[in-house]
Symmetry: C2
Subunit: 229 residues, 2 copies
């Protein structure tokens, strides 16, 4: 069923090929419609929770933003918590796409990979006029005390998110571009946390100054030993 849900064309080709009865076809299409409404809710929910916060936003606002019938929320999500978990996962998928194109892009020198990651995210933050920050950071401070399931998911996400930073740092140490005395895993953890803090400060200021300070300090002190004077 999952594979049918990807495109309308996929369904049409599938039903034609299988010679389905009208009844079966209806069941599949309505299944697809449900999956698509669910998708619409999650996609839209990333935006809604990002703008409004997890607790502040009610199911009514989520449904209104997604432009879906009221009942479709309860059809697809047992609770707002279940919805929050799916939204966080979807959001993290979009981050992993950036990770793939930057931190894990072996065609670039390692320091460039790190610069590209922070630069790409900065560009996305600029598009929101430095107002939005990171949904995972927001949820980390807002929802962890309210929902153990969300806290555990976020903890797992941070672990998964840290690994590609460590990969880039190890590559930089191997090539001699990043100082050898750093523990790559600990440094990865530090960078990701410090970047979350920079986004937090940015959000309060609505200006990129903290992101710029982060970038300048990280690339001149943390990763690279200073030129001898």
């Amino acid at each position: 069923m999952k594979t049918f849900a990807t495109t309308t064309n996929g369904i049409e080709r599938g039903s034609a090929a299988a010679g389905l009865t009208a009844n079966t076809y209806e069941r599949i299409v309505s299944g697809m419609a449900r999956a698509s409404l669910k998708d619409q809710l999650i996609e839209s929910g990333v935006e809604t929770l990002h703008r409004g916060g997890y607790h502040h936003v009610g199911v009514r606002a989520i449904v209104a933003d997604a432009k879906v019938p009221q009942g479709s929320f309860t059809n697809h999500f047992a609770s707002k918590e279940a919805f929050g978990l799916e939204v966080v996962s979807r959001y993290f998928e979009s981050i992993l796409e950036v990770v793939d194109r930057t931190l894990l892009d072996e065609s670039r020198p390692p320091l460039d990979r790190l610069r590209a990651y922070f630069g790409t995210i900065s560009g996305l933050l600029a598009e929101r006029d430095w107002r939005h920050g990171c949904l995972i950071g927001n949820m980390s401070l807002e929802a962890t005390e309210q929902s153990e399931a969300i806290r555990e998911r976020l903890d797992a996400i941070f672990a998964e998110w840290t690994a590609p930073f460590a990969v880039a740092i190890r590559a930089g140490q191997a090539s001699g571009d990043i100082r050898a005395d750093l523990d790559p895993d600990e440094t990865a953890e530090f960078l990701l946390a410090a970047w979350q803090g920079a986004m937090l400060r940015m959000k309060v200021e609505r200006a990129p100054r903290a992101l710029e300070a982060f970038t300048r300090l990280v690339f001149t002190t943390v990763l690279v030993a200073p030129a001898e004077s």
Copy 2:
């Protein structure tokens, strides 16, 4: 009126000395009682908002936690936003006490002042089993999009908070303990933001690992040039 509100003894001495009528005395005492209920609400509100978050917690819960009559909230605060602003200010006062004892303590060497600040805060975070983080960080991510007044207050707080870090960094540069090539203001901003990020990560993990990574990296790479190999 303000000075009367500090202690019961102050009121008694004041009223006795001035030979006040019962009526005046009543007005003063009831004024004091109001100030004290307000104080109680703010003190308790620091704890309540810290645990529950700004939006999640309603006035009913705030009043229940403070153990004051329901009506006293509306007597003292025009809105939950007004209450939030006072809670944030009270919380920041307690941070400034730590700042005074650490970053601004000229009897310590500059690097020790910085270590003492992060160490003292870590101790407070440990008392809450690494669950609570920083109320100002929480409000930064939760409330800035909801309340322009809170965002502006937080922005002013961050500016005030950054200055004593810069003082300690300048002192360390003057004494030769902190590398001279750093911009003290930018480094101060970076440290405070990175520390917020470390507390965010800590809160998700409920463990001090991110705080430890922060401390190790900051004191071996950001502030101090590595020993020549």
